[in-house]
């Protein structure tokens, strides 16, 4: 019997109770604190959830109420969500780096009554909004540091709430168990707000059945086992974290491990050596960049050894991809490389124990993908949508391919609708958008298929391949089809390019706005004796422009002539989620960017040598000001590196 059909296991908190009974002493969660991995057994997890839930009940939290968590991945923030769900409430996890205005929208729209915040910084953000949120009546904080000077009635520490819960529990024996019993599979477990690449974000209602069924079929396909270790480092506001960290770990009784802080996540990853790792393309790209920088810094001997085996692994991977046999000498070399390079590199990255690694959320460049696979990292693509509980397709171990996203999960079906749009039906498909019935009707076909908005096709093997957002796929003026993400991913493979936005729809050629990677370009500048002061200064250096132009020319050599990038402009700031240019999951908000940078785009196509742009700048503390700056436009000549771009001056 599936978990969802069994009334003893059909909600997430009921699964926690099952794990507590079955595996009580084994670690359910770990948290790195004070430099040590501190374990919490399933029994402790359950006790915390129960006490916190009773504390919420004492504070008037009822069935159908909403609780938000705001902070980095912390066991107590996961427990708070389970506590709310145990009482029949809904969890509304938030992105920890959201600015107050974004929080205000979600908290108001979801009618959140209780916010559990990690620390003083997050409490300050919520307190600044408390006046405008009529439903909010309690803010609970985890870390008491800096909180002693606050004397606000709506503030309580987690310890206070748990204490109140224990007192409430003594007065109302059996209350928690009765509430837990009442929960059903179709209850809303969470409202996940979409990252909103298209306008205002929407609240996706996911039921316990959605989440548990998705996790169950994921666990069956990937053979996730009890006792497996996950590193919980992805933003709690992202639906993927709720599915993989919370739901899947409860379903199979795997252990969630919370890093000490975002800055230590990389080191904690290495210490832990998790059984698997899930990351958006950004994570894999930055891992690769860090590795390339380290390799370039190594002594000549090490650098040459690394470079030799990297090339060997790449050739082997290409042969494998083409289905050709691998020569004996190459097999021997690869085995040697495993000892000298690949194994140690995997160990450095913390992937030594990882049976598989997943990338999803956005397409990952084929070169990056191939690199990790060639080094023995079992990296595979997955495809999902918030509205489909984060997971629709994933690749089989033997079928990893950078160009597809694999087969559908068991029980889930995919079809291609009009304009090539991918449509999904299955147990993970959401209940609807919260308080947005019109949007729900737009997102689901009359016969009940979810319209993902992604353009894709199913290849002969039965793999789904995603081309781009359906509405972004366009045509060049001569009719050549053009998918901006494809060009952008090519560009982002260069370690010097952090973000790129490509244009071409209805235009005669492809052009791109590029923001450089401050750390790698900065290092390059230092090595070349090029002094600079700031990001803007660096981006305006003619030498840096030459560097990037050469990189783009190299990339162009791998593209068909029609879709080569002809002109670029170097932005004088990084695209920033605080300026609403990209989402918190680092997806470009195309329509917004096109509008904001309209003069720049015009300059890309009218042959201008430079362009002026007036921008509203938002500082980290929320202050705003205006800045007018000049950006230079560079031509990419077809000759490649031999013909660097010319300067305007």
């Amino acid at each position: 019997m599936s978990l969802v059909a069994d009334p003893a296991t059909n909600t997430l908190p009921k699964l926690l109770a099952r794990n507590m009974k079955a595996f009580g002493r084994q670690p359910g969660m770990r948290e790195k604190d004070r430099g040590i991995w501190q374990p919490y057994s399933w029994r402790e997890c359950y006790a915390h959830v129960r006490d916190f839930a009773l504390g919420l009940a004492a504070a008037g939290f009822k069935r159908g109420d909403k609780l938000s968590v705001l902070g980095d991945n912390r066991p107590r923030l996961y427990w708070a969500q389970l506590a709310a769900q145990a009482l029949g409430g809904m969890a509304v996890p938030l992105y920890q780096d959201s600015i107050a205005r974004e929080l205000a929208f979600v908290l108001d729209h979801a009618e959140v009554s209780i916010v559990v915040a990690e620390d003083q910084e997050q409490v300050d953000k919520v307190l600044s909004l408390a006046g405008q949120l009529k439903n909010l009546h309690l803010i609970v904080y985890e870390d008491p540091l800096g909180m002693s000077a606050y004397s606000n009635d709506i503030l309580k520490s987690i310890a206070d709430v748990e204490q109140a819960g224990r007192a409430f529990g003594q007065k109302h024996p059996g209350y928690f168990e009765r509430e837990l019993e009442q929960g059903g599979a179709q209850d809303v477990a969470m409202i996940s707000y979409t990252s909103g690449t298209t306008g205002q974000s929407k609240g996706v209602l996911l039921s316990h059945a959605n989440m548990i069924a998705t996790s169950e079929s994921f666990a069956s396909v990937e053979s996730v086992k009890r006792g497996d270790n996950w590193l919980c480092y992805l933003p709690m506001g992202w639906v993927g974290d709720s599915i993989f960290s919370l739901s899947t770990s409860l379903v199979v009784a795997a252990t969630c491990n919370c890093p000490e802080s975002p800055e230590t996540a990389q080191r904690d990853l290495r210490e832990l050596g998790p059984s698997a790792l899930l990351g958006p393309p950004r994570i894999w790209e930055s891992m690769l960049t860090a590795l390339q920088v380290k390799a370039a810094d190594a002594s000549p001997l090490k650098r040459n050894v690394y470079e030799y085996f990297r090339r060997l692994a790449e050739r082997r991977e290409l042969l494998k991809g083409d289905g050709k046999s691998i020569p004996r000498s190459m097999r021997f070399g690869y085995r040697l490389g495993e000892y000298l390079v690949y194994g140690p590199v995997r160990d450095q990255l913390g992937l030594r124990n990882a049976r598989w690694c997943l990338t999803g959320g956005a397409p990952l460049g084929a070169d990056t993908f191939r690199f990790f696979r060639s080094f023995g990292v079992n990296l595979k693509q997955i495809y999902g949508a918030t509205e489909a509980s984060a997971l629709v397709c994933l690749q089989d171990n033997n079928e990893a391919d950078p160009n597809t996203v694999g087969r559908t999960l068991p029980g889930t079906n995919v079809r291609i609708g009009e304009r090539g749009e991918v449509q999904v039906k299955g147990p993970g498909v959401f209940l609807g958008y919260y308080k947005q019935d019109a949007a729900t009707r737009d997102a689901v076909t009359p016969d009940g298929w979810l319209k993902t908005g992604d353009a894709g096709l199913v290849d002969p093997r039965g793999h789904l391949a995603i081309i781009d957002r359906a509405k972004d796929v366009g045509k060049l003026a001569d009719g050549t089809p053009f998918a901006p993400q494809f060009a952008e991913n090519k560009l982002k493979y260069s370690p010097f390019i952090r973000e790129a936005v490509a244009f071409g729809d209805q235009h005669p050629f492809v052009a791109a706005m590029i923001s450089i990677d401050m750390s790698t370009v900065g290092k390059w500048a230092e090595q070349n004796g090029l002094p600079y002061t700031s990001y803007m200064d660096l981006a305006r250096k003619p030498e840096v422009a030459n560097l990037v132009v050469e990189e783009v020319a190299k990339i162009n050599a791998t593209l068909p002539d029609a879709t080569r990038i002809r002109r670029i402009v170097l932005l004088n700031k990084e695209l920033d989620a605080d300026d609403a240019e990209i989402t918190r999951t680092r997806k470009v908000r195309r329509a917004f960017v096109a509008e904001k940078y309209a003069p720049v785009i015009a300059a890309l196509y009218d042959g201008a040598r430079e362009t002026q742009l007036t921008m509203d700048i938002t500082y980290e503390d929320g202050r705003k000001s205006q800045l007018t700056s000049t950006m230079l436009v560079y031509d990419i000549t077809p000759a490649g590196p031999a013909g660097p771009g010319r300067l305007a001056a």
Binding site: R34, G35, I36, L145, G146, A149, E260, E263, T264
Partner: protein, 272 residues
């Protein structure tokens, strides 16, 4: 007068550190001349003044690096004028230096552990055997250091040698090492010197937290008037070795003698 941290908060706090008529001469130069300051328990007292006013000399006398030629310094009523620096440190007075004085080759954690040296009891033999008391002691001290690492948000730098850290971070580590001593009184000599605005704001936040969360009395020398006026309870102004004014920040700012010391009386030169 036996006032220890953790006992009942009293409305009008008692004087924790008292400097009475202290003077110090270096050859013909009078560095500090008959200065008296009372530092109340649990407050932040700032000492300001132009370069060469005698601020650091005064701090050096409190921490025992210099012996005053005249006057008396008392901690919680106990005369510490003639004590050695290590004895004063053991009584609960910790300090940071204007020019950072960390062990560059040691990690952040080891520098903090060194800060706890005066609190450690195990002898060489016990430490070599690493058994019983020595082991328990190490665990206890490590836990205390980890708490400071958490407090100052140094988690990602725990195992980094301090020489490789940015200037602002080294200053923060130095504050951490002073805190590792579990002081009652913290003497900070220009903790924000040479920092950018962001780093200054962070440091000011930490100083306030040290004071409010841990109840540690702070004596601060600082040149950034914005910071001083923001976080101090009481400001003392020195000029050429003499105390020329003291009081709440707003009063001191308006004091003509202070303005004169900073800007000069007749011709406007010099700056803070």
């Amino acid at each position: 007068m036996n006032f220890t941290p953790g006992s009942q908060q009293i409305k009008a706090p008692s004087v924790q550190l008292s400097v009475a008529g202290v003077g110090k001469r270096f050859g013909g130069v009078t560095a500090v001349d008959d200065v008296s300051i009372d530092v109340p328990q649990g407050r932040i007292v700032s000492i300001i003044g132009p370069n060469g006013a005698g601020k650091t000399s005064l701090l050096n006398m409190v921490s025992g690096f210099y012996k005053p030629d005249s006057g008396r310094i008392a901690l919680e009523g106990r005369d510490i004028t003639k004590m050695r620096p290590s004895e004063i440190a053991a009584l609960g007075v910790a300090r940071t230096f204007q020019n950072i004085a960390l062990f560059g080759g040691l990690t952040v954690l080891d520098n903090l552990m060194l800060g706890r040296h005066v609190l450690m009891r195990s002898g060489v033999l016990r430490c070599v055997l690493y058994w019983g008391l020595a082991q328990r002691e190490e665990v206890r001290h490590r836990a205390a250091c980890e708490e400071i690492i958490d407090f100052l948000k140094l988690q990602d730098l725990r195992k980094q040698p301090t020489a490789a850290l940015a200037y602002g971070l080294r200053k923060r580590v130095e504050l951490g090492r002073a805190l590792a001593l579990q002081p009652k009184v913290l003497l900070l000599d220009e903790p924000m010197g040479g920092m950018n605005q962001d780093e200054k704001e962070d440091m000011a936040r930490f100083v306030l937290d040290v004071n409010q969360e841990r109840g540690i009395t702070v004596v601060l020398i600082e040149h950034d008037m914005g910071v001083v006026m923001d976080i101090s309870d009481h400001v003392v102004v020195l000029d050429r070795g003499r105390k020329i004014a003291e009081g709440p920040p707003a009063d001191v700012q308006a004091n003509p003698a202070v303005i004169a010391a900073y800007l000069g009386t007749s011709k406007g030169s010099g700056s803070a």
